[in-house]
Symmetry: C2
Subunit: 152 residues, 2 copies
Amino acid sequence: MDKAKITFGTREDKKALEEHPVFAPKFDADGLIPAVAMDAETKEPLMLAYMNAESLQQTLALGEAVYFSRSRQEIWHKGATSGHVQKVKEIRTDCDQDAVILYVEQLGAGACHTGRTTCFYRVVDLEKGTHPTALSFTEADLSFDPNSVYGK
Amino acid sequence: MDKAKITFGTREDKKALEEHPVFAPKFDADGLIPAVAMDAETKEPLMLAYMNAESLQQTLALGEAVYFSRSRQEIWHKGATSGHVQKVKEIRTDCDQDAVILYVEQLGAGACHTGRTTCFYRVVDLEKGTHPTALSFTEADLSFDPNSVYGK
């Protein structure tokens, strides 16, 4: 899409937000909406990050995921440093339009800065009753060396 | 797990949060963490909601999804009204532990209060370049009558 022309609908009543075919995303008090990136092929979740209106517009214009980094307080074109760009295949929103899901093709070795294919590489131990609650690592093993990609 | 015994780890340095097998979830300034529920069978996303520490502890204790309703500002045991309980099969967290994903068995007709199987029933039109940006409805059609389940 032409970025200059990307606009969002106005948020009217609840019924309209739920049933109208108009994208009217809700940005919170900090101007952000949560965005979950999932692998378009495997349906595995890759990461959860946030977008502001500008980064969502850039995502639509570029066809690549652009987030807003809360820690750095800046627009964050995923993959700009690492080459691990996320090509957007589909974007969904939910009933009240306060969340988005991106189905992406993850380029490069993985989505996570720890060197893994996904950020969701740990599972909560539901049965063990450990204190504090324990995590187990999944098979989403190190797929690249983060230092060689991101530097120290 | 025994709810009385459910505790979370303390959030230490970044490396520990990423690499230690201890669940130390980050709750934001409002005491909340985003939680994405996905169908354990189909891997389709069902909804994105929020949990506070208490609702996360209840989720672990019950084995059913318990959220915190931001609009009502109260603990929200999903399905308490509708019968559409979410049986928790797996919970994952991400590298910095500020998000969780729940793989659930969705009981009843669907997750969404609009009467659909999923809240993510609309897709952003990436190609059309409409102003404002348009949404298309997916095949996640009405699977139940919300009025008969939730009342008016």
